[in-house]
């Protein structure tokens, strides 16, 4: 009797949202009816969201991909001998050879999408543990130095050098310290944290353990947004498995070092992505931001020195410890080192996760990877870095996606989300929405943000309705200045960025709408 044919079906939330569960069941049912033994493995996503639900069939020693596959396509696919890699319009061939994937450099997402994300042995066999194993043999200062030398900067949005943050925590007197993983990925257009947590949770746990070894923390928390129930289930299981297998617990990999992790859920507040709000929320309060100083690295969770890093930042640490700082640093250039997982979203034909060394231009991302807009209409604007990020115009598409390149045009990379809009989008209404969102999510602690965002929303609503005067536009500009210089955190301090970028980038639209 021949061995069962292995069939990989993405189990990522994005794939399931497009019907992957029905596809997996449909394949199992048809194979059973045909008397063919199959083993269905639910994996994380390879990041080709445009090809989800993605199915890979192991045949002749290769994994042959098909996508997008819906349950309705299965009869035709079985007729085309899907289980033997047969020809069909949806056949993509080997993912590693497909141009969309082959042009990427997967470091942080090296393991995501290959195996069952909760298969610890598969993760370990692929080299997942190497970073932690190396870190256990190093002095704390040496671990911090490796992270510093790698050039890794916070991938959550603020781009603060990770090594410097860790050094500050390491420099605090020994005592209770914490590692907090910011998994409150609230920026529109971003899903890399979710994809990583669902596709390769052990790498995140390993990154947190390395951070704990580096700074002398024995307890970690993952603060996960409640909008990610699928990621929650994966993480809950991954933490239990990691404890059972000795990656977490009283004796990390059998050594005398302790590190454990607890998962905590947010409750639908965007502001919790700001690190001091997140700490307030973890402690059980309204998530109002804290004054700085003191920095969380000095007085963080429950007043103790705390590393707060985003999911992708922490998940990038294991490869640095496994392959060395130089290996990671040599991807990218200048002040933008390593790889960046970009998320291509919105009105785009082939959206998904593109991890590549820094330096790709916006045009290459949107045209070469994305294939242009989903609607087939011209690109009008691209918002980069979430709801507080600037909108760039079609004339600025040759800008390189680096920290320096985007700063040069008054934009920012943020968490790497790239949202494409075609020429039907009402840009002035997007400006109004940006302020409305700030007003909705403001924690209320400081006046420039709390009151400023509401007044600015009113002015922008008048502009959209064709009732605003030139004088009111000046007032809006002044209000933006006040918010930028007077707000306590990035929410009020940056909400004017998308608004200003639209007022400046689309002057004709503004002029047409003035009263």
């Amino acid at each position: 009797m021949s061995a069962a044919t292995r069939v990989y079906v993405s189990g990522d939330a994005a794939a399931r949202a497009l019907g992957a569960d029905a596809v997996a069941k449909g394949i199992a049912d048809r194979a059973a009816a045909a008397g063919r033994a199959v083993q269905i493995v639910r994996t994380g996503s390879r990041g080709l969201v445009w090809a989800e639900p993605l199915v890979e069939v192991e045949t002749g020693g290769e994994r042959i991909a098909y996508g997008p596959v819906t349950a309705r396509d299965l009869d035709a696919l079985f007729a085309a001998r899907l289980l033997d890699g047969g020809a069909h319009a949806a056949r993509l061939g080997r993912i590693e050879s497909h141009p969309w994937f082959a042009r990427q450099e997967r470091l942080t997402f090296a393991f995501s999408g290959y195996a069952d994300p909760l298969d610890y042995d598969a993760w370990r066999a692929a080299g997942g543990l190497a970073g932690v194993e190396n870190a256990l043999g190093m002095a704390p200062a040496a671990i911090v130095k490796a992270v510093s030398d790698s050039g890794l900067r916070g991938r959550g949005g603020a781009a603060f050098p990770t090594g410097r943050k860790w050094q500050t925590v390491l420099d605090q007197p020994a005592g209770e310290k914490f590692i907090v993983c910011n998994a409150d990925e609230g920026d529109s257009g971003t899903f890399s944290d979710r994809m990583l947590m669902e596709g390769d949770p052990f790498t995140l746990l390993a990154g947190m353990a390395i951070a704990g070894l580096a700074v002398g923390a024995t307890q970690g928390y993952i603060y996960l947004r409640v909008e990610y129930p699928h990621a929650r289930r994966v993480l809950e299981n991954a933490i239990l498995t990691a404890r059972a297998r000795g990656l977490l617990g009283e004796r990390v990999l059998g050594t005398a070092r302790r590190f454990d992790i607890e998962l905590r859920l947010g409750a639908g507040a965007y502001i919790c992505g700001e690190e001091t709000s997140l700490l307030e929320s973890l402690e059980g309060r309204r998530a109002e931001i804290r004054f700085r100083p003191p920095l969380p690295a000095i007085k963080g969770l429950w007043g103790q020195p705390t590393v707060v890093n985003n999911v992708i930042t922490l998940a990038s640490v294991p490869v640095i410890l496994a392959r060395g700082a130089a290996y990671y640093r040599d991807f990218g250039a200048g002040d933008s080192r390593g790889t960046l997982p970009l998320q291509l979203a919105g009105n785009v034909r082939r959206g998904g996760l593109v991890e590549k060394a820094f330096g790709l231009s916006l045009r290459e991302l949107i045209e070469d990877f994305g294939g242009g807009t989903l609607s087939g209409r011209p690109v009008q604007a691209v918002q980069i870095g979430g709801p507080l990020g600037a909108y760039v115009t079609a004339a600025q598409l040759d800008t390189p996606l680096t920290y320096e390149g985007l700063a040069g045009i008054g934009a920012m990379l943020g968490h790497g989300g790239v949202v494409v809009f075609d020429d039907t989008a009402d840009m002035l209404d997007m400006a109004r929405f940006a302020m409305e969102f700030c007003a909705h999510e403001s924690c209320g602690k400081c006046t420039p943000c709390r009151v400023g965002s509401t007044r600015a929303t009113e002015l922008l609503a008048r502009l959209c309705a064709g009732r605003a005067t030139r004088a009111e536009l000046t007032l809006l500009e002044q209000l933006c200045d006040t918010m930028i210089s007077g707000s306590l955190c990035g929410l009020g301090g940056m909400a004017p960025f998308p608004v200003r970028s639209i007022l400046r980038g689309f002057p004709d639209a503004v002029a047409r709408r003035l009263a």
Binding site: A17, E185, S188, D193, E283, R286, G346, H440
Partner: protein
């Protein structure tokens, strides 16, 4: 670990949640989640009992509950329909979908249908930004949703308990 709570304590879901979480560090959010997951909302009575158990004032507990969009003080429909209203979904028709959802359900954002089946909610990003417009019903995510697909989904979910 502590011994299991007594039969009377565990019979009441709020008491059970309190017993389970009160000794954790930073217990309030996990406790509020537990209460809402088991009872459907965080009632005045729950606020009072949680405040008492954690040595907080009712105002403090209410302040936290009302800060977070996910928590609710009164029961909603059997299922929560959360529409993504963020930019990436707007770029592919989220506003039209929202108009369609309010039309099909006959309620606005925040409203509950008269049959008690659905509460409609606006959310900001479900992390499905390359395959929008997106919505979530309870904990199930759906992508590339148009009016026809929405009607199908509502019909499926309306009959579920």
């Amino acid at each position: 670990m502590s011994a299991p709570a007594s039969t009377t304590a565990s019979a009441d879901p709020i008491d059970a949640a309190i017993a389970e979480h009160r000794r954790r560090r930073g217990p309030l959010l996990p406790l509020l989640h537990a209460v809402q997951d088991r009872v459907g909302c965080i009632s005045d009575e729950a606020v009072a009992r949680i405040a008492d158990a954690l040595n907080l004032s009712r105002a403090e507990v209410h302040g936290v509950v009302s800060f977070y969009d996910h928590f609710r003080r009164t029961p909603g429909g059997r299922h929560r329909v959360g529409l993504c209203r963020a930019e990436a979904c707007q770029a592919v028709g989220a506003r039209a979908l929202e108009a369609e959802a309010t039309r099909q359900l006959g309620v606005g954002i925040g409203g509950t249908t008269p049959d008690g089946a659905f509460t409609l909610q606006g959310l900001y990003c479900l992390g499905n930004c390359a395959a929008g417009p997106s919505l979530m019903i309870d904990e199930e995510l759906y992508g590339r949703v148009d009016g026809a697909r929405l009607a199908e989904l509502l019909a499926q979910w309306r009959s579920r308990p």
